[in-house]
């Protein structure tokens, strides 16, 4: 079976670096405020008039602020596998940026393996596929569970 082309599910939100991917946020050149997704028009710090932003990769690791899972298939425009495979989802505190960023947890890791405060790292994984493409998205992976998501494809 020919290899599918890996493309980002959304342009410009993260690097496509296989080894060490990062979310791409912005940093206000006036006040230093971080934002994700990137700020493009006006700084959201009300005390700043900044309109220029530098693209900045965000911390690749953080600590779990909270987590849950999706026991029922989310509605469109989520593109679910058939049959549906539940997934965990978490919100992660990034120390440098002092912000919390959400994302799915890699396949094969359910909530009983997660704890608030656990360290997680950013990886790329398939969100959905069509005949020619794998649409990639960022996910969080517990740093001590690297083997759970190394295998591509069906986590079962």
């Amino acid at each position: 079976m020919p290899t599918k082309t890996r493309v980002p599910a959304i342009e410009g939100w993260f690097t496509m670096d296989d080894q060490a991917p990062a979310l791409l946020g912005s940093r206000c050149t006036s006040c230093g405020n971080f934002a994700f997704p990137k700020e493009t028009y006006f700084c959201r710090n009300p005390h700043c008039q900044g309109t220029e932003f530098a693209e900045t990769p965000l911390s690749r690791t953080g600590k779990i602020w909270s987590y849950t899972n999706a026991g029922y298939q989310p509605p469109e425009p989520y593109v679910a596998a058939d049959p549906y495979v539940p997934f965990a989802i978490c919100a992660v505190e990034l120390a440098t940026e002092q912000m919390v960023v959400m994302g799915q947890v890699v396949p094969g890791v359910d909530v009983d393996e997660l704890t608030v405060g656990d360290e997680v790292e950013l990886v790329l994984d398939t969100l959905y596929e069509d005949d020619e493409h794998e649409f990639m998205v960022w996910k969080w992976r517990p740093v001590d569970a690297t083997d759970a998501a190394d295998e591509e494809g069906d986590p079962s």
Binding site: C28, S66, N69, P77, M102, V116
Partner: protein, 398 residues
């Protein structure tokens, strides 16, 4: 703030919540008709119509004020239509209140109604990669319960809340709503039934997450002067309407966002958004949480009700579970919460819900809440929050 910024509530009306599958306008008209009859005001006397919008019912829903006005029969009344997600009803109430307080009208009708699809709320259709609400479903599969569950898990972690606590909220609200004629679910449940229901978003189960419902609610508001002339010497009054937005940096993840604000460039640490919603209402009314007889809060999930106890000042942070376990928020307790049965018994009819919360308080303060009456109630507060940063809190007194 002016010395008297109260407006009188002459009438309240609701169409029962359910999954009736009819046009939302019908529910709005039924509610409006009841509110007008209760007020003893003829439709032709209404000078201002404030509609709360629904975005899932086509153009008539976007211009709800005019839709209801036309359906009741054009009279030339002035009109507004407001959308603020779950807080739309508070915006409509506030629009009417502002007109009355500015002296631009004496009597106004506020109406909100919705017809909802089955299942999870999903974003408006299309391929909309510039809409965070669309994107959070597409890129993360993050539904509304996803966010409720993040807060619930956080409570368990920080304050030792348990699944039994969350279930107890559901059991309480189900009991409260048993005799409410407007509630959709009028069935007692046990903690065992709650905890045996399917897990939707761990740790929240099906019976702990509010459904989506059809329903309609309406209020007839007027100046205190008009109420007196109308023969109502001491009406129930709306003393505050808080429609605040968050303050930067917003450090708690909110629907439909992917991230919080960053605190890196700002050292300001103030109240959280949900705390500020009620604080603004208390300040405007010149009262505090200690004055409150009862509260109607937005229990989108059972766990979220516990957050609200703290956010509206019924107890300190981390003490909500104790308040619940002590029975303080149960009918007969110190400060009953969701005596109506709450969203737990209603499900959510988005533009009607914040108005319905006020209807319940009005009936409670008049002593007309049969089967769920909070004895001796004098002051009530509602709390609610709409997607994209819409606070909603109304204080009602008699």
């Amino acid at each position: 703030m002016s010395t008297d910024h109260r407006v009188a509530v002459l009438g309240a009306g609701m169409h029962p919540w359910g999954k009736w599958g009819r046009n939302f306008v019908e529910y709005g008209l039924a509610a409006a008709g009841d509110a007008l009859r209760e007020a003893g005001v003829d439709w032709t006397e209404v000078q201002y119509v404030a509609g709360a919008d629904t975005i899932r019912n086509g153009y008539p829903g976007f211009v709800a004020g005019a839709t209801f006005a036309q359906a009741l029969g054009w009279t030339g009344a002035r009109v507004s239509s407001a959308y603020a997600a779950c807080a739309s009803g508070a915006q409509a109430i506030n629009n009417a209140r502002a007109q009355i307080l500015a002296g631009l009208c004496d009597v106004a009708l506020v109406v909100g109604a919705d017809t909802t699809p089955k299942g999870f709320f999903k974003p408006v259709g299309g391929d909309r990669k510039d809409d965070p609400d669309w994107l959070r479903f597409h890129l993360m599969g993050a539904t509304n319960p996803t966010y409720f569950a993040l807060y619930a898990r956080r409570r368990m972690e920080l304050f030792g809340a348990t699944e039994a606590d969350f279930a107890a909220v559901k059991v309480k609200n189900a009991r409260h709503g048993l005799e409410n004629p407007y509630a959709r679910y009028k069935k007692a449940v046990t903690a065992e039934e709650v905890l045996a229901s399917p897990m939707v978003a761990d740790p929240l189960r099906l019976l702990e997450i509010c459904a989506t419902s059809d329903g309609g609610a309406a209020l007839v508001l007027c100046s205190v002067e008009y109420a007196k002339k109308h023969g109502v010497a001491s009406p129930v009054t709306i003393d505050a309407v808080s429609t605040v937005t968050p303050r930067f940096p917003q450090t708690i993840i909110e629907m439909p966002n992917f991230s919080t604000d960053s605190s890196a460039a700002s050292s300001t640490v103030g109240p959280t958004f949900k705390e500020s919603v009620a604080l603004a209402a208390y300040e405007e009314a010149g009262i505090g949480p200690e004055d409150v007889s009862l509260a109607e809060v937005y229990d989108l999930s059972s766990a979220l009700e516990l957050d609200w106890y703290e956010d509206i000042g019924l107890c300190k942070q981390g003490e909500a579970e104790k308040l619940l376990r002590d029975g303080d928020t149960t009918l007969g307790g110190k400060v009953p919460v969701n005596a109506s049965g709450g969203l737990s018994c209603f499900g959510e009819a988005i533009p009607a819900q914040a108005i319905a919360q006020v209807c319940e308080l009005v009936w409670q303060l008049r002593g007309q809440a049969t089967g769920r009456q909070v004895e001796g109630a004098t002051v009530g507060i509602t709390a609610n929050q709409g997607l994209f940063g819409h606070g909603s809190s109304v204080i009602v007194s008699k």
